[in-house]
């Protein structure tokens, strides 16, 4: 295995790129990146290969002729379309199109910059759509970087309509437009330049000699940022951060020194742990679940949460708790089982290298953050880790932690209810179902992309394909939302029907695990039968394709009254008549069966 130094020198990148091409190719996940840009990027090639290999990608980089945007995308004979690409990156900056855009900003008091950015955004969106629709592959659109040298220098931000604020507004508008576009995402080039330091980003010699905008010393940062962004397209985000307690959430060992002995507060050294707790809660805010795995006495440890005045993370913020003397890998497995998520969606943060090694060995599919020995570095270690990277945040993500907390209350209710039916009735569920539209396709694509357990066929359709299927006449993409007395569960089930003569084939049927065991699938099947009948079909054909993770739905069709219908290439087929009306479950109130969009 080739060792890649932390910070290779420019010449070393060339040597390493050649060695990777020869030695490592087969062990890396192929990643074919195409870039179209308004500036020369030839120098990036070896750097991308090396930085890609560092995180497991075998990068094949295609670079268009600089300045060309529409032509290579629209021309089917262009070299861009000459071989398959996994992702397209569009990096176009206003100053490359109009060199005076920034320096002559006050010539028109920004009016010409506004026109330029609006036109460029139109071209980028148009091109991104064209490439996506043609190839079904995602597109990253670079936003606009603020230059190091501003028209008003250090006073530029004092002008509320000056360049600094205008560019920010244009970036917000670009993000707004990209947000509603399936399979098109922002590459935060502006953020990258800011983080790397805009004054070192360009080298005027290179810029004026050869139109090279990104200085050699900035290229590693650019490649890492781009690889991390692309990785977020390919690798689903982790779902749960599993935390240790002693010397992780606070300094000291609570079992030895008690509450008084702990380091936690606004002054050093307790400030390091408090800063870390804030960052952890930041993850919780955006839907990452928090769990504890600690070798401790539960009564002693929980006392810190209840009684320590400086604790920021509350006992209620935790979705699962394992405080015992078992090996951590076993506790992580138990946490995953309790939360109904895969062990490969767990991330451990533990100050103890021995525990980290135990989890790496005992649960290799889980991720483990390399924690620095100095606690002042904890916060940044958490931010630097890419495990929770997510290109777009849906409203379900933001509400997820709250939903899991409510789920714990619901479980208690279930234990108290005299019968399952009483429990289901007590939930006061309301379901709403409808055909997919622009408002729902984002969440649908997310569920199609990541649902493993309650997923009958596990077909990972791309967002572009889903959009096409939603619009086509012979396919029907539908969703179901669920509310109960505890709140809105959001969009939790997806079905895709495909008409084949008189049969409606169930290409996809999936449901979020958080509403399992509530007979919601009865409502979903009932709705799908209605939709199939509305397509003019006489039979609904269901398919079960077994995977390592979807055993729980192996008998679903039989339970729903389907009859066996033979085998498909990689699964079993099931049929049910559409001529009789199917019963909607009594414990779920149907609140709407409109053809339109749900109210979100």
């Amino acid at each position: 295995m080739l060792t890649i130094p932390l910070d290779p020198r420019p010449a070393e990148y060339h040597r390493l790129a050649r060695e990777i091409a020869v030695l490592e190719r087969s062990s890396l996940e192929p990643l074919r990146v195409a870039m179209l840009s308004s500036f020369t990027l030839d120098f990036l090639r070896p750097v991308m290969i090396v930085e890609g290999a560092r995180v497991g990608f075998g990068v094949d980089l295609f670079l268009g002729d600089f300045g060309q945007l529409e032509q290579p995308i629209l021309d089917s004979n262009s070299t861009l379309h000459g071989s398959p690409r996994d992702v397209l990156v569009l990096a176009f900056q206003p100053t490359d199109i109009a060199p005076g855009a920034f320096d002559r900003f006050y010539d028109t008091r920004g009016a010409s910059l506004d026109t330029l950015c609006a036109e460029l955004a139109n071209r980028l969106l148009h091109s991104a759509r064209a490439f996506r629709d043609r190839t079904g592959r995602p597109v990253l659109v670079a936003n606009f970087a603020t230059p190091a040298t501003l028209p008003l220098g250090p006073f530029d931000a004092s002008d509320p309509t000056g360049l600094t604020h205008r560019l920010a507004a244009h970036n917000a508008e670009l993000a707004e437009r990209v947000y509603t576009e399936p399979d098109v995402y922002i590459w935060d080039y502006a953020g990258l330049v800011r983080e790397a330091g805009s004054s070192n980003w360009s080298d005027p010699r290179l810029q004026l000699l050869a139109r090279v905008v990104v200085a050699p010393e900035s290229q590693p940062a650019m490649a890492r940022h781009l690889v991390r962004t692309i990785a977020a397209l390919r690798r689903p985000p982790a779902k749960c951060l599993v935390l240790d307690l002693d010397n992780t959430l606070w300094g000291g060992v609570v079992g030895d020194g008690g509450l008084q002995g702990l380091q936690l507060g606004d002054d050093w050294p307790g400030s390091a742990y408090k800063a870390f707790q804030r960052a952890v809660l930041g993850l919780r805010d955006r839907g990452i679940l928090l769990a504890l795995a600690s070798k401790n006495d539960e009564a002693v440890a929980s006392e810190v949460f209840r009684s320590h005045p400086e604790m920021l993370i509350g006992w209620d913020d935790l979705a699962a708790i394992r405080i015992n003397w078992e090996p951590k890998s076993i506790n992580l497995r138990a946490i995953a089982a309790e939360l109904n998520i895969g062990t490969d969606t767990l991330v451990l943060f533990d100050d103890n290298p021995v525990e980290r090694a135990e989890v790496r060995a005992g649960l290799p599919e889980a991720s483990v953050i390399e924690v620095p020995s100095d606690p002042t570095g904890y916060r940044n270690a958490l931010f630097a880790s890419s495990y929770f990277d997510q290109l777009g945040l849906s409203s379900e993500d933001r509400d997820r932690s709250e939903m899991y907390r409510v789920e714990r209350t619901r479980t208690i209710l279930q234990q108290e209810a005299p019968s399952v039916q009483d429990f289901l009735d007590s939930l006061e569920m309301e379901a709403e179902a409808g055909p997919a539209g622009s408002e729902t396709l984002g969440r649908i694509a997310q569920l199609v992309g990541k649902t493993n357990q309650f997923n009958l066929t596990t077909r990972r359709h791309s967002p572009a394909d889903l959009k096409r299927m939603a619009e086509a006449d012979d396919t029907d993409v539908v969703w179901m939302r669920l509310r109960d007395r505890f709140g809105d569960q959001g969009l939790i089930a997806v079905g895709i029907l495909e008409r084949q003569e008189e049969d409606a084939h169930l290409d996809t049927l999936l449901m979020s695990c958080r509403v399992m065991n509530r007979h919601v699938e009865h409502a979903m099947i009932s709705y799908l039968r209605e939709r199939g009948a509305a397509m003019g079909c006489h039979r609904l054909i269901g398919e079960y394709r077994p995977t390592a993770k979807n055993h729980m739905v192996g008998d679903l069709f039989a339970e729903m009254g389907f009859a066996a219908h033979g085998r498909s290439d990689d699964g079993t087929l099931w049929e049910i008549s559409l001529t009789e009306v199917s019963a909607w479950p009594a414990h779920i109130r149907r609140i709407d069966d409109s053809e339109g969009e749900p109210t979100i």
């Binding site: 020198r9 420019p10 010449a11 070393e12 060339h14 040597r15 050649r18 030839d42 120098f43 005027p204 010699r205 290179l206 004026l208 000699l209 050869a210 090279v212 050699p216 010393e217």
Partner: protein, 80 residues
């Protein structure tokens, strides 16, 4: 490592050739892959290796191993 050895190592890394095989007269005409992109790569690899900085006007002139060695030596001496 001597300056000559470091210079040859940069050539070896950038062009994928044996450092010792580089001759004084070697130029874009004799070394495979020494095109305009590789030229700038080479120049900036040299700057990073020797912690020097070439003026823009000299960059297009650094088109042989000899010319590069002379300019690097001059820069290193100027830096003291």
């Amino acid at each position: 490592m001597s300056a000559d050895k470091r210079l040859r190592q940069v050539f070896a890394d950038v062009f994928g050739i044996e450092g010792d095989s580089v001759k004084d007269d070697d130029s874009p005409d004799t070394i495979d892959g020494w095109d305009s992109v590789a030229h700038l790569t080479l120049v900036f690899a040299l700057e990073a290796e020797f912690t020097i900085r070439f003026e823009a006007q000299h960059i297009p002139e650094l088109v042989s191993f000899r010319a590069i060695r002379e300019r690097v030596t001059e820069k290193e001496q100027a830096a003291g």
